[in-house]
């Protein structure tokens, strides 16, 4: 990496404004990685994340699936955690300290019916979440996401509408890479009042088998694929969504370097989620990605990220 020559007048800024939320940099901790309590969220913030997303909360507590729940194979991670969470009432207490985290905190909310999502927000909305993210796209939990038919344009619009009524905060809809009409799903979220799209949730589901015990390794047998295997899919999804909607996109899927982040922004992401990158590079990945981005920007005369968002489109 060349040392940046700032005398050229290029002072790269990573600051982004996402739906009115000011982020010092575009890296966001993805939901489902680490975000189980405020102590860990604070640690991620200290390690350079521009924002953090909590682990998804629903109305009722869930233990989630039995172990094995997360494994890593040669091209990524595979998980079937199953939306374990303490439920909205407990989450209200457990995340009470989020204003100490130091960066904006996004509340991820799940539900089985459109009204569930709104009910969760009615409860945890008392906390200073910067935005709410609705994953409508989990491939491996019965009752939620794809297994509950939430990945259709119709369901997406209904859920976005229900949540739109429940909060003035920015509403982010997180979509699946596995749905057939992704552009329509994104447009439905936009029509329902969503302020941003998060693309994408995990891929698949997939399966891995241990040949000595002759059993699928995850206890749920199948799981969502993330990490490097997901990255080209996520890039293509963000590219397609960018053509379909006007609202900003958080691009997520296998990002672990500054170059990956810039690539994702070039296909249309205004900010980037990092999840599996924590496995590959450690919790310091956020600061490392930012340093690399600034270095690339300085080398290429880019002073603001708005100069590169979507430039891969003709």
């Amino acid at each position: 990496m060349q040392v940046a020559d700032l005398s050229d007048g290029v002072d790269p800024s990573l600051a982004v404004n996402l739906c009115g939320v000011e982020l010092a940099n575009p890296t966001i901790l993805a939901s489902g990685i680490l975000g189980t309590c405020t102590g860990v969220l604070r640690r991620v913030a200290r390690n350079g994340a521009g924002a953090v997303t909590i682990k998804s909360i629903g109305m009722d507590p869930r233990s989630g699936h039995n172990n094995p729940t997360v494994i890593a194979f040669e091209a990524g991670l595979m998980n079937a955690v199953g939306y374990s969470n303490p439920g909205a009432e407990v989450a209200l207490e457990q995340f009470a300290g989020i204003d100490d985290v130091g960066v904006p905190v996004i509340g991820s909310v799940i539900g089985t019916e459109p009204d569930d999502f709104a009910r969760v927000i009615d409860i945890i909305g008392a906390l200073p979440f910067a935005a709410f993210e609705l994953p409508l796209s989990c491939p491996h939990t019965p009752g939620f996401g794809l297994l509950a038919g939430q990945g259709t344009p119709e369901a997406t619009e209904a859920i976005a509408k229900a949540v739109r009524k429940a909060t003035d905060k920015p509403v982010i809809v997180k979509v699946s890479p596995s749905v057939s009409r992704l552009g329509d799903v994104a447009r439905a979220a936009e029509a329902g009042g969503a302020d941003a799209i998060c693309a994408v949730n995990s891929l698949g589901p997939g399966m891995l088998v241990d040949i000595e015990t002759r059993q699928p390794i995850l206890d749920f047998k199948v799981g969502g694929v993330t990490g490097p295997a997901l990255r080209p899919i996520a890039l293509r999804c963000v590219y397609d969504i960018y053509e379909a909607v006007k609202i900003p996109i958080i691009g997520v899927g296998g990002i672990s370097t500054g170059r990956h982040a810039i690539e994702m922004m070039m296909v249309g992401a205004a900010a980037v989620g990092i999840g599996s990158g924590v496995y590959y590079e450690g919790v310091g990945v956020f600061g490392d990605v930012c340093r690399e981005m600034r270095g690339w920007m300085a080398d290429n005369g880019v002073s603001s990220l708005s100069e590169i968002v979507g430039v891969a489109h003709g």
């Binding site: 680490l34 860990v40 869930r62 494994i71 439920g87 924590v278």
Partner: protein, 271 residues
């Protein structure tokens, strides 16, 4: 980088005491005392365990029957294959001039230290004589039982001050119920003696991504399971709070009861 189980054949299951057995596995594993492995019983579940015995061509985990998975592991048929991922985590910083305080099945975690330093004093607390483990393995252990049915009646922490005040001990290694370890740590702090505690938390991934084992901002699977005095001093959740399987933060007392046969984890609604 992969996190996939290696299959090992169960050679035998040996009783270590009431409700406790060691599963001997055919093969070798790299392992530093204080680390853990994620054990997978296909179709049943997976849990973290210490490697409690390590020999040339076989090794063992010691399982206390508590909940559904440990109960099935204890009844496993020799010849069955189970999966082992890891080893994971940060182990003990080993030194000769130490002593060990263990409680209940925590002795399985510190056994590797005693194997390495056979002369190191080992204080063990068990509820009753029937539940006492490794009495033949470590004949010079100082035994304490709640009911006095073996050794002295009381807790190993009662003997620790005398042992430390006698001099010659630079570090205390401890593993057992968290209130016991917190008491050991306090006694060490009072005497400016280093303490290394091996913590236990509910785990899912075991390799630093899911956040299930969070203890304040640290992950027991990666930053621990062994934590030294410098960290323990600042670790507010040590001796205080742990996350249940659903991620709810509860007292260590409530956590210790959760997931047992008497107090099973609630089933998620079938959808």
């Amino acid at each position: 980088m992969v996190e996939l189980p290696r299959a090992f054949r169960v050679l035998s299951v040996e009783s270590e005491g009431e409700g406790v057995s060691s599963l001997w596995l055919d093969g070798r594993i790299e392992y530093a005392p204080g680390q853990f492995v994620m054990v997978w019983l296909p179709r049943e579940g997976g849990k973290p365990y210490a490697v409690s015995y390590r020999e040339e061509n076989r090794f063992a985990i010691t399982v206390k029957e508590r909940g559904p998975v440990s109960a099935m592991l204890a009844r496993i048929e020799p010849g069955t294959h189970i999966g082992v991922r890891g080893p994971y985590g940060r182990g003990f910083d080993l030194r000769e001039k130490g002593c060990i305080v263990a409680g209940s099945v925590g002795i399985a975690t510190v056994a590797a230290i005693k194997d390495m330093y056979p002369a190191m004093p080992l204080l063990i607390g068990a509820r009753t004589a029937a539940e006492l483990m490794y009495a033949e393995r470590f004949k010079d252990m100082r035994i304490f039982t709640d009911d006095g049915s073996a050794g002295a009646r009381g807790f190993p922490t009662e003997a620790l001050p005398g042992l430390l005040d006698g001099g010659g001990i630079e570090v205390v290694y401890t593993c057992g119920p968290e209130p016991m370890m917190a008491a050991v740590f306090r006694l060490c702090e009072e005497r400016n003696i280093e303490c290394q505690a091996s913590l236990e938390r509910y785990m899912k991934c075991g390799f630093g991504v899911c956040g299930q084992c969070a203890c304040d901002g640290l992950l027991v699977c990666q930053d621990g399971p062994v934590f030294g005095s410098g960290v323990l001093r600042k670790l507010g959740d040590f001796g205080e709070a742990a996350l249940r399987k659903d991620g709810r933060r509860v007292s260590v007392g409530e956590y210790a009861q959760a997931g047992s046969v008497q107090n099973p984890e609630p089933e998620d609604p079938a959808s």
